[in-house]
């Protein structure tokens, strides 16, 4: 094994959150394949798929997810051997596939603040002039725009890059459309031209009962791919969103923060879900003392102010981490443990809502005649719960998971601001805001860090909110019946 690592020059690093994320991906894939065969489970998803809003935001969400997943494969690059034959040492700082893809962006550190697309620092420094005279001036950046002979060429260069980027973006998009056309032809037949027309104009096939809103999907894809290629074109030459106080690229930080946001938004629910579902159903189904006990538990947990519970737990885990520093080989492992615990403790504070919801739903279900019929057959409790109750509360679970996501992403920012969020060394929007909160009071104002975190967070949360709205409407039987009252 180690020989293989040596050959590749890297050693994989399995972080807890990475494993859980990929487990989640596996669970979702399994869920998809399970649902595909069951028309009654598929029906609400068809409603989601027909919504333009949902599909548009899904494309955006997928971009975030892909970035997050790329950022969830960690490895430790091999350090250069001082002498050949020595034991290979691996870096203490882990990288991810995403880091490898963005290449220089990670190392391209300036001295201090620089504005977006700038070629010079944001503050004056003593610069040695051409004649060896020291003057106070804005020095050139080490990386940002250093390919330009003359900073005056900057605007021309940027325009050129933008054009190039959009052309590349359109090419990428055409490639995607082409693949889609081929796939659709394979699935449904018809001439390629006919397929393209169908896609772009949204004409439903006669054979297709529920057409997907292809035009929306494609336009959003076009927008995303153009933006992506532009960012790549500019990103290699400039700091698109400037640099922060210690000169780190803000764009890179914002992109790296995506993983943190997604982890908090998804793993928290993944961790709390089994407890909430199990306890909620048990309380509603068995009633009596079991119900009393579970209700007591969640009332007690609920009565502790959430932030304080999180704060207390995080402070405790931090003490543990500090006292056991030797357990962690890399900094990533340390901050990862804290992230995991943040997810767990956030889960502890937020499972009560779902639990109560499920209890109420189960109380209603247990009075249904089909449960009575099962009792008349002497079906065991476990079987009734798994076969009758669980499938009939899954929509509640799904709605609450989807609705919780955006709230958790926002909560991360607040918690990091309070100082009980993710590890300060970890990239996260909350940490970015926290670090930059005094910059608005600075003269001249440094606005780009806040803007970057705002934009990245806003787009993710907005897309998630729009998507979850459609999901809720598609799955909530009350909304359904409201539409079909005649």
């Amino acid at each position: 094994m180690s020989a293989l690592y040596a050959l590749v020059g890297a050693k994989p690093l399995f972080l807890w959150t990475d494993l859980l994320i990929w487990l989640l991906v596996a669970v979702i894939l399994f869920g998809v394949s399970y649902t595909r065969k069951r028309p009654h489970l598929l029906a609400p998803w068809h409603r989601v798929a027909r919504s333009r809003l949902a599909m548009g935001s899904l494309v955006v969400l997928l971009v975030y997810v892909v970035i997050g997943l790329l950022d969830s494969i960690h490895y430790r690059p091999a350090l250069e051997q001082s002498e050949p034959g020595d034991e290979i040492h691996y870096a203490v700082e882990a990288r991810t596939v995403l880091d490898w893809l963005v290449g220089d962006l990670r190392e391209a550190s300036e001295k201090s603040y620089s504005a977006p697309m700038a070629t010079h620092l944001y503050s004056r420094e003593n610069v040695e002039g051409e004649q060896g005279v020291t003057q106070r001036d804005y020095p050139r950046l080490k990386y940002g725009g250093n390919h330009l002979q003359d900073p005056q060429q900057r605007s021309g260069d940027i325009t050129q890059s933008l054009l190039l980027g959009s052309v590349q973006g359109l090419l990428l998009w055409s490639l995607i459309v082409l693949m889609l056309v081929l796939w659709l032809r394979y699935r449904k037949g018809g001439s390629p031209l006919q397929r393209i027309v169908t896609l772009l104009r949204g004409h439903a096939d006669v054979s297709e009962k529920q057409p997907l809103p292809w035009p929306t999907i494609l336009w959003v894809t076009a927008l995303v791919s153009v933006l992506l290629m532009m960012a790549i074109q500019l990103g290699v030459k400039y700091h698109i969103l400037g640099t922060d106080k210690v000169g780190q690229d803000v764009f890179y930080q914002a992109v790296k923060s995506i993983r943190t946001g997604l982890v908090i938004g998804t793993l928290t629910t993944l961790i709390m879900l089994p407890f909430a579902v199990m306890l909620g159903i048990m309380a509603g189904y068995f009633r009596g003392w079991i119900d009393d006990l579970i209700q007591y538990t969640y009332t007690t947990l609920n009565s502790i102010p959430g932030v304080l519970l999180i704060a207390a737990a995080i402070l405790m885990i931090q003490v543990y981490i500090d006292n056991n520093a030797l357990l962690f080989e890399t900094t990533e492992e340390r901050s990862d443990l804290r992230l995991l615990f943040l997810c767990i403790i956030l889960g502890v504070t937020s499972w009560t809502g779902l639990c109560r919801l499920l209890r109420g739903e189960t109380l209603k279900l247990r009075e249904m005649d089909y449960i009575t019929a099962s009792h008349a057959f002497g079906v065991s409790h476990l079987r009734i719960i798994t076969r009758h109750i669980l499938p009939n509360v899954m929509h509640v679970v799904l709605i609450s998971v989807v609705l919780d996501f955006s709230g958790l992403v926002l909560a991360e920012a607040v918690l990091s601001y309070v100082g009980v969020g993710v590890d300060p060394t970890m990239h996260s929007w909350g940490n970015m805001i926290n670090g930059a909160r005094l910059e608005m009071a600075r003269e001249p104002v440094v606005w780009w860090t806040l803007l970057a975190s705002f934009l990245f967070m806003f787009v993710l949360v907005l897309a998630a909110n729009l998507f979850s709205d459609v999901v809720r409407e598609a799955f909530d039987p009350r909304v359904q019946s409201r539409g079909e009252r005649f």
Partner: protein
């Protein structure tokens, strides 16, 4: 009625005991008094004597759960668990690490917290209900659609940005109000204005959506059809019939948070430099002053339970179908 309240207060005791156990576990078991002392006195250069001193000052030098040294009932009572719990239940919060009396601090800081939280809460509730009603009144028009879109956008923005943006635009660019700070008395008005406004605006997105769902749910019920069949104007149907029914979930949902207003808002207070309980908590967290955090946890739990009690009582006021027994 009195009987009912008494019973509810009795029910509250096991919950408070549970809260106390959880906090005790977090603050004294996971992290022993020794750890705390070491952290307070500096990690490296602490002598065992200094630690013992520190523990003795605070009364942390007793065993956690069981005192073998004591006699009789003292085995259970002369322990950290017993003494710390009884102190909390007497609302005796002890002293902070800087030697100040926590109880006194809390009393002192309650005022500024309420000065922000109460107006935010009341104005927010009114604004949310008004906008939600308007959206329901104009349902199935573009006005409603744009309202829905706006609320989704508003609720997708982190609360932090409302504060940062508000401070920057109103305080720094326009110089309308001070960016932060607080004064007691009537002068407080200048300092309260911006945080309250921002508090209301940042809550509008999710609030309006939530109330709108409640209203829409009520709109689908049979009695609304009856009201329309009476020939009543839509406004009366909405304000007289729907609103009165919707007030049941709205009011009871609002009442439960009412006591928690005392706790103040962590973020707002710390951003605006309001010397309330919210910023007190944040400062304690940052300074890792566990005595204060524990006191606040307990206080929060007590207030939450009072909120639950008030919720039940408020049901009897707004819903004729509910009678306490």
């Amino acid at each position: 009625m009195l009987n009912y309240i008494l019973r509810r207060i009795l029910y509250a005791i096991p919950i408070l005991v549970g809260v106390n156990l959880i906090t005790f576990f977090l603050f004294f078991v996971v992290n022993t008094p020794d750890d705390m002392a070491r952290m307070q006195l500096g990690m490296k250069h602490v002598t065992p004597e200094a630690i013992d001193n520190w523990k003795q000052e605070r009364g942390y030098d007793r065993p956690l759960f069981w005192n073998d040294a004591a006699a009789g009932a003292g085995q259970a009572t002369e322990t950290l668990l017993y003494s710390e719990s009884t102190k909390l239940f007497r609302f005796d919060f002890g002293v902070a690490d800087d030697g100040r009396d926590i109880g006194g601090d809390i009393r002192e800081r309650m005022g500024p917290s309420l000065a922000i939280a109460v107006p935010t809460f009341i104005l927010g509730l009114m604004a949310n209900i008004t906008f939600a009603l308007l959206m329901v009144f104009f349902r199935a028009t573009y006005l409603e659609l744009s309202g829905v879109v706006l609320t989704v956008v508003l609720m997708s923005i982190s609360g932090l940005f409302y504060i940062i943006g508000g401070q920057f635009v109103v305080g720094k660019l326009m110089h309308l109000v001070p960016i932060s700070g607080y004064e007691s008395g009537l002068d407080a008005f200048r300092f309260v204005l911006l945080p309250v406004a921002i508090g209301v605006i940042s809550g509008i997105g999710s609030g309006v959506r939530w109330y709108r769902t409640i209203f829409l749910e009520e709109m689908g019920k049979d009695y609304v059809r009856t009201a329309r069949a009476k020939g009543l104007p839509e406004g009366r149907v909405l304000f007289h019939h729907v609103l009165r029914n919707a007030m049941i979930p709205i009011l009871t949902g609002a009442v439960v948070v009412l006591p928690l207003l005392f706790m103040g808002s962590l973020i707002t207070e710390s951003f605006f430099g309001i010397p309330g309980l919210g910023s007190y908590t944040i400062e304690a967290i940052n300074a890792q002053d566990f005595a204060i955090v524990r006191a606040m946890v307990f206080l929060g739990a007590v207030l939450y339970i009072i909120g639950l009690l008030l919720t039940d009582l408020s049901y009897t006021l707004v819903d004729p179908r509910v009678r306490l027994s």
